[in-house]
Structures are given as C-alpha cells and as structure tokens.
C-alpha cells in the first residue's frame, strides 16, 4: 500500500517500522499455526485414520498418513453396523426439535419485540436462567415425567425436551433480530388492514432469514450431539440416536478402531456442513442477540 507513496529511498524510521511489522507478522502467523495445529491435530488423526485400511490401522510402528487411502471403512460401518439408523434417528429428532423451536420461539420473540407489558424484562432474563438449567439436574425428574406420559423410548420425548432447551436462546436471538426491523413495517401493514398475526407471518418472518438461520443452526447443534437425555430416556437399539448408539454399541468393542474413526467422521460431518452454510448468519445473528442482552 505504502509502496505507491514511497520512493526508492526509505528513511531509517520507515525501514525500522517495516522490520517491526514483519516481526509482528511472523509472531501472528506463528501463533495461528499453533492454534490450527491444536484444533486440527486431533481431528486429522481421526480423519486420516478413517481412510486407512484396517491392516494399516493395526500395524506398528504407526504411520500418520495412510499408505493406500480407501473409503472401505465408511462402506463397512454403514453396512455392518447400525450407524445409519442412529444417524437417521438423530436427524429426525434434531429436525423435529428445530421445527418446534423456530415456531414457538419466533412467535414469542415477535411478542417480546413488538409489545410492551409488565415483567417483560424479568421474563426474558428468567428464560435465559432456565436455559442454564442443566440436564444433569433435571434428568431424573424428566425420566419419571416421560415415564408418566408413556413417552419412554420414543423420539417424541427427545423432540419435546430438545425443543424446550432450545426455545429460550432462540427467543433471544430472534427478538434481537426483530428489534432491528423497523416498526414502520408493522405500521404500514396495519394501515393496510393486516392483523398482527398476518403482519408477523407475511411481513416480518420473510425478512428474518438471517436470524432464523442462526437460531435454527444453534438449535440443531444443541440437539445433534446431546447425550445424557437420550441415554436415559431413549436408549433402546431401535430408537438410539447417534451419541447413544456410538457410546453404547461402539464402546463395547473399543478395538474396532476402523469403525470408530469412520463413524466419528460421519457423526460430525452434518454439523460441520451446516456450520459452513450457517456461518454467514451465525456471527451477525449472535452479535445482535448479544448486544441486546
């Protein structure tokens, strides 16, 4: 940038500043390399392991890179274990919870954004406190409740419980987003004779895709890998979601490295793919929610 301004001669001061900037850059990139190694090191061990044929996995001395990379482990784990069903169950449960979360939370967030009423702030904060209510504390009573409802070992139970734990933060994110939409929109719709409900569904929601995406992603993420609740409430082989399936039925044979590696990659991939898509909305959606809070 400064190259266009400076001539061939550089004063000692400029040269010193440039040297300092170079040192700073080396330090920055060096630290970044450490961070990346810290994050990607363990992950790459699993990904590379999933590409190794069993003979290579069980060979000493161990090699980091596969000699003859293959996708055979992926085929095997899908065909010979129940992983496919666990993943399907997880997708159904996370999807159902996401749908309920978005429906309930967006309606509530509109109420919080557009109405003034007594105890509004305490209710909002109270919701967040309930959000922090840990599943360890609630797991025994939830088991007893679900038993009473006749919902043990059903996906419905998981959908309901996951939705309940996602609704509070979804309300915060969506309220933050709705607050940024000008109220003149609502006024205009009202002058045209639209009801509140109509305004919300036809005017506000279509404009809220970024907020809805951020809330949807966080809700999905919270449900996708959750472990304790399904371990207790829905642990039959038929209903088991990914986390329970992998814990219960892969834990039995810890030596099945080749399955463990490829199953781990398959179980993480959906979340990572969604993250790549949602990232754009995530930061802005979260930032707006946080600023209001």
């Amino acid at each position: 940038m400064s190259a266009t301004v400076s001539t061939t001669y550089q004063s000692p001061a400029i040269r010193r500043r440039k040297a300092r900037e170079r040192r700073k850059n080396i330090l920055l990139y060096g630290l970044c390399a450490v961070v990346l190694a810290f994050v990607l090191g363990p992950l790459s061990w699993v990904i590379l392991g999933s590409l190794k044929p069993p003979a290579e996995i069980f060979r000493t001395p161990l090699q980091f890179l596969p000699d003859a990379p293959t996708l055979q482990n992926y085929l095997d784990v899908m065909q010979r274990t129940d992983l496919g069903r666990y993943l399907t169950n997880s997708a159904i449960v996370a999807g159902g919870a996401l749908a309920i979360t978005l429906a309930l939370a967006s309606i509530a967030a509109y109420g919080f954004s557009r109405y003034d009423f007594r105890f509004k702030q305490p209710i909002l904060v109270g919701m967040l406190v309930l959000q922090l209510m840990p599943s360890t504390v609630n797991v025994v009573p939830l088991y007893v409740m679900m038993n009473g409802f006749g919902l043990l070992n059903t996906r419905t139970a998981l959908v309901l419980l996951y939705a309940a734990s996602s609704v509070p933060f979804a309300i915060w994110i969506l309220k933050g987003f709705f607050d940024t939409l000008p109220r003149s929109l609502d006024e205009a719709a009202s002058i045209d004779g639209a009801t509140r409900w109509y305004t919300f569904v036809r005017v506000i929601l279509p404009l809220s895709l970024p907020g809805l995406s951020a809330a949807a992603f966080l809700s999905f993420l919270a449900s996708w890998g959750e472990f304790l609740i399904p371990l207790v409430v829905a642990n039959s082989r038929e209903i088991a979601v990914m986390s329970v399936g992998i814990y219960t039925f892969f834990g039995e044979e810890t030596a099945a490295y080749h399955y463990a590696f490829s199953a781990s990659v398959l179980a993480t991939a959906p979340a990572v793919l969604l993250y790549i898509f949602a990232q754009k909305y995530l930061m802005s959606g979260l930032a707006q929610g946080a600023e209001k809070g």
Binding site: G49, P61, G111, I123, L130, R183, S243, I246
Partner: protein, 309 residues
Amino acid sequence: MTTTTRHRPTRVSGDAPQPKRRWTARQGHAYFIGPALFFVLLFTAYPALYGVYISFTNRNLGYSGERFIGFDNYVRLFNWEPLPTVLTNTALFVGAVVILQLGTGLGIALLLNQKFFGRKLVRSIAIVPWIVPGVIIAIMFQQIFGASELGIANAIMVRLGFDTQNWLADPTLAMTIMILSVAWRGIPLTIILQLGGLQTIPKDLYEAAKLDGAKSWQTLWHVVIPSLRPILLINAIMATSGTLNHIDIPLTLTGGGPARATEVISVSLYQQGFELLDAGYAASIGTVILVLNLVLTLVYLRIWSERRS
C-alpha cells in the same frame, strides 16, 4: 422502552396535542409469548422442582411406588464414603477447565482480533471443536491416548525414546486428559464471546492509550481486560455451570475410572440413578448440583459487583 416516548418533544400546533404513540401494543402479547413460556416452564422449571420433591422420596426405577422419607437421601449422601473424592475431583476438574478455557480462549480471541490475511479462515477453524459432539471428542481422545502403540500418543512417545504409557489407566494422566479434552471443546465458546466483546470496545480507547504512551501489554491490562469484564463474567458463569454439569466426555472417556480417580459429581448422579436405579438418591445429588450452580453464580456476581464499586 416507554421512556423514549416521554422525552419526545410534543408538537406545538393544536392538532397533535399528544406525542404519537409508538408502534407497540399493550394487549394481546399473551397469545404470542404464552405457548413458548408454558412449554419452557413445563420441561425445565417444573422438573427442577419435581426433582427436589423426588429427592425426599425413596423412588427407585426398578419398582413402582414411592414413599416420603424426609432427608434420608441427603444423610446418606453426606455419609457416602467416596463423596470427598468426588467433590475434590469435581472442584479440580471445573477449576482447571474454566481457567484453561478462559485463559486460552481469551488469548486466541486477542490474536484473532488482529488484522491479518487469512484471519477469517483461522477464526472459522478455531470454532470447529465446538460443533464436534461430546461423545465423538471422547472417542477421539480415547483413540489418541490408546494404551497400546496403536494410539498416536504412544507412537510419538516411542519415537522420542520414552516408554509407552497406559494413559487412561493412570489416575493423574486420566484426569489431565479429561480436563484437556473438555477444555478443547469449550475454548471456542470463549473465542466467540470474547471476539464479540472486543468488537464493542470503542477505538478511541485504544487511541487514547496510545497517545498516553501505553505499551501494548499496558493497553491490554488497563484498557482491554477492564472493558471485557462483563462478558468475561458471563463467560465464566457459562463455563463453570457448563463444566460442572458436563457428562458426555467424563462418562465416555473414562466412566469415572480408574477407581473413581476421574469420577465427577455428574457421573455419580448418572451411575446412582440409572445404573443402580436409585432415583431418589440421584435426585438428591441433582439437588446438590443445582445448589452448587446457584451458589457459584452468586459468588461470581458478588465478585463482579465488588470489583466494580
């Protein structure tokens, strides 16, 4: 909310004696917030209270029926022989994870707040551990720290000329690995929160510090950290409660072993309630966890308000 209307200047002309009401209504909000509120209360607040009730009964998941037994479960719990071990483990685990998570996460956030080419990519990758399911993280570290030479950790040890270790069978090593893997997963939360916090610091503050001749570490200590204090506090509360209640990694990685060396209180609750089926007793552990959560949050808030005044 309503205060803005009060300060709005009224028009002098007679046709608009009242300031125009903002587009907010007072009636009808119940239809919007009611369903969500009911739903959340039913599945979070009600169970918490119900759990306290169960802790005063002898409910067992192996047979039906229950009887009110007062504080018996709590008496049993406080006389439970491994309790001191479990509480020490929990304190060590939570303390170490929170410190690691906040310290490292804040450091990385400061690094990623600098302007350099490729920053966005590094940011995206640094967040990834947060989206890996806990069970998968446990399995990943189980494989890395496998007992035989098939684990990469031992392979490296051998290559460096050391003996192989039976990592997860050694009490100290197992606890260390558990702490590191939970922190590995939690650091991104700190990065996200603190990067958000760093955005809110006005540029003037940095410039003022620079004009005063502050070195960069002085700016960090006297400008950046104090400005981040509120969000650091929220972060500390979230990390503490998150770690205290965390169970995915402890249960999958070590299951509390070897010989209770990594048994934290959430693991005790699970084992008592769902392996030994003693629901009333597990509920009393749950109530203790709930109280611990509340006390720790109050302590944080207390520290915060003291520092501020």
